[in-house]
């Protein structure tokens, strides 16, 4: 195991922050305080964190409608994100974007996206830019098992191969696109990443519920891509713990499915187990992180409630550059 104690604690903190952020949103949405459509990332934390812990702010990621986890893992300010979801002018996008459109270019988070499949081509462009800059930086497109069926994703993969762009296609297979099972919608024998392979890039497959496996896999992937060997793709087997969107009745789930997932496939539980059993970290250290994280989320919500609201004049702001 090559991760330092600090690095392990940091990874755990990030995963817990995502979990706490999302679970708090789940509660607040029930209370009706939050507007718009919100898609929670709970269950997939190990993927975002296991990928992004390898990156710095000059590496870029492009996210999806289920983007909060990617944002937090990439270093977006949690309070600024919460304020955005609350629609405040102090939100990361000044209240213009909301949950589905969080972006923070300063940390290399190029944007969440409301259009399924729109991200992969954007990530290829960012990878072309990274290649021009020649600093060994990469660009990562997160896509779901639904997004992998868009022509845009196919075009992006092929273009990345023919241009030898340092792009990484991370497919998070949480088995569902909205209410449809991936076994129905993905034609390549339940195998997403074989498509990437067919386009001519190197691919990996790993368990997305095990942070350690994600992290180790990404080490190899990044070594390959940063080494100028062209794009790569990874498929992570992962789980979505809540509905597609908040309010989804989830009648497509099997009996006891969610209970089983929480019991057997909770990446946070798995992390704690592995880290404590191997005596890498102690339970009370991890509990301490939990407390700090919950306090941060409380603060984010309190600050968001008190944050300034936009005024009608703000509607017209930022459509175009303001030269004056």
């Amino acid at each position: 195991m090559q991760l330092s104690r600090d690095a392990l604690l940091q990874a755990y903190r990030q995963m817990r922050t995502i979990r706490a952020f999302e679970e708090r949103l789940h509660d607040e949405i029930m209370k009706g305080e939050i507007a718009g459509f919100t898609h929670l990332y709970c269950g997939q934390e190990a993927v975002a964190v296991g990928v992004c812990e390898h990156l710095d702010h000059e590496d870029m990621i492009v996210s999806t409608h289920r983007g909060h986890g990617h944002c937090i893992a990439k270093g977006c300010d949690v309070v600024g994100m919460m304020k955005e979801i609350w629609g405040s002018t102090e939100g990361l996008c000044n209240g213009k974007g909301g949950s589905m459109h969080i972006a923070d270019k300063d940390v290399g988070m190029l944007g969440a996206n409301g259009i399924v499949g729109a991200g992969a081509p954007i990530a290829v462009g960012a990878a072309m830019s990274a290649k021009l800059d020649g600093k060994g930086k990469v660009s990562i497109a997160f896509s779901g098992d639904g997004a992998c069926n868009q022509g845009t994703t196919f075009e992006a993969m092929n273009m990345a191969v023919v241009t030898n762009a340092p792009a990484i296609f991370v497919f998070e297979n949480n088995k569902y696109s909205e209410h449809t099972g991936f076994e129905y919608a993905v034609g390549t024998n339940n195998d997403i990443v074989s498509r990437a392979e067919a386009f001519g890039m190197k691919v990996w497959r790993a368990d997305g519920c095990d942070f350690f496996e994600v992290y180790e896999t990404m080490r190899d992937v990044l070594e390959h891509v940063r080494g100028g060997n062209g794009p790569a793709a990874v498929e992570f087997d992962t789980e979505r713990f809540y509905g597609h969107f908040e309010g989804d009745p989830q009648r497509y789930r099997g009996e006891g499915e969610l209970d089983r997932l929480w019991a057997e496939r909770d990446c946070i539980k798995i992390f704690r187990q592995r880290a404590t059993e191997a005596s890498l970290l102690k339970s009370d250290e991890l509990d301490g992180v939990d407390e700090e994280v919950l306090a941060l989320i409380d603060k984010a919500v309190d600050d968001s409630r008190a944050a300034p609201r936009p005024t009608p004049e703000d509607v017209q702001r930022d459509v175009y550059i303001d030269y004056f």
Binding site: G36, G95, G114, G151, H179, T180, V186
Partner: protein
């Protein structure tokens, strides 16, 4: 007459037309809801509730649940139509036409003309449009502005459950490609719907309020706002014609001109921005063809030329409202 929801008028029309004509086929994402899951087909039944029960009744070859592939959905609708079927494709949100635009614009909209009138494309592309849910810039748009500018497409925007039935039935039986726009905020609205066969021909506006002072032209969700404005103005003794266009392509120019000839004043309410859109189009039509009748410049009540913002305060500032319509009506009355 039965009373039903706007959404149920969509659903019942689909059931009725699929029963009536075997060549009617539906396709779209999550249309069946639950394909490939433990819950099985129909576990959900479409995210808008507008396709419930179709799969069980008509089977998988006529009720086609598709992967997330809007370009192929619309393209396949075009192919089904060229080959003799009557496809009804659903794009969950109107905003997603972006992904399928070539198939809409360069393909289905042009087959008849390009092929010298020898091909037809009786495809319906349904989609939920409109703002009001703080769903932000990619899930709230009104797309009739762009689509009505594409010759060859018919564009339909029902505002009542009765018109859903009449216009949707017409759309399915129509031999041209029809964009059928369902407003998300209207799905839960109830209204009386005629029993039995009910068709509403395209290009015939509906007069939903009658008055002699000002003409208000509206579509979709804007019709209800225009009615609310007209009702409050009526209390002050101001009479408004409210014209629900029903279809923006073709558009009932005659009804607009006839009304303005009486009132001399025009307010166009639209959920899309005025620039290069319906509001300015109707104003220009009236300025060109009924100039002598005008007692005041036409007014447009529309969102500004911006993407749709997320925050509650911003979205409501962005959208038209009954108050904004009343103010525009008063402006035409107080002109000089």
């Amino acid at each position: 007459m039965a009373t039903m929801l706007y959404r149920d008028a969509v659903l019942q029309t689909l059931h009725a037309e699929m029963e009536r004509d075997e060549s009617v086929v539906v396709l779209g994402e999550d249309l069946v809801g639950g394909m490939g899951t433990a819950g099985g087909p129909e576990a959900i039944g479409g995210i808008w509730g507008t396709s419930v029960g179709l799969f069980d009744k008509f089977g998988k070859d006529r009720v086609i649940d598709t992967p997330i592939s809007e370009c192929a959905i619309v393209g396949a609708a075009g192919g089904l139509a060229l080959a003799g079927k009557r496809p009804v494709a659903e794009l969950m949100f109107a905003d997603f036409i972006g992904v399928s635009l070539d198939q809409i614009w360069n393909q289905i909209g042009k087959f008849r003309y390009m092929f010298g009138g020898k091909s037809k494309c009786p495809a319906v592309i349904r989609m939920a449009y409109g703002a009001g849910f703080n769903a932000a810039a990619q899930h709230s748009q009104s797309v009739h502005q762009m689509l009505s500018g594409m010759p060859g497409l018919k564009v339909v925007m029902p505002s009542t459950p009765a018109d859903v039935k009449g216009l949707f039935t017409q759309a399915i039986r129509d031999d041209d490609p029809v964009i059928f726009l369902e407003h998300k905020a209207l799905y839960g609205v109830e209204g009386e719907v005629p029993d039995g066969e009910h068709l509403v021909p395209f290009g015939h506006a509906r007069l939903s309020r009658a008055g002699e002072d000002v003409t208000i032209v509206a579509t979709g969700m804007m019709v209800g706002m225009a009615e609310a404005a007209a009702d409050s103005l009526a209390e002050e003794g101001i009479g408004c014609d409210v014209l629900d266009l029903r279809t923006t392509s073709p558009m009932d120019e005659e009804a607009i001109l006839d009304s303005v000839e009486v009132t001399g004043r025009l307010v166009v309410v639209d959920e899309a921005p005025a620039r290069c859109g319906l509001a300015r189009d109707v104003s220009a039509l009236v300025s060109e063809l009924a100039f002598a009748s005008l007692k005041a410049p036409p007014q447009a009540v529309t969102p500004p030329h911006t993407p749709i913002p997320f925050a509650r305060e911003l979205e409501s500032a962005y959208l038209p409202s009954p108050d904004k319509i009343v103010a525009a009506v008063q402006k035409t009355l107080n002109w000089r």
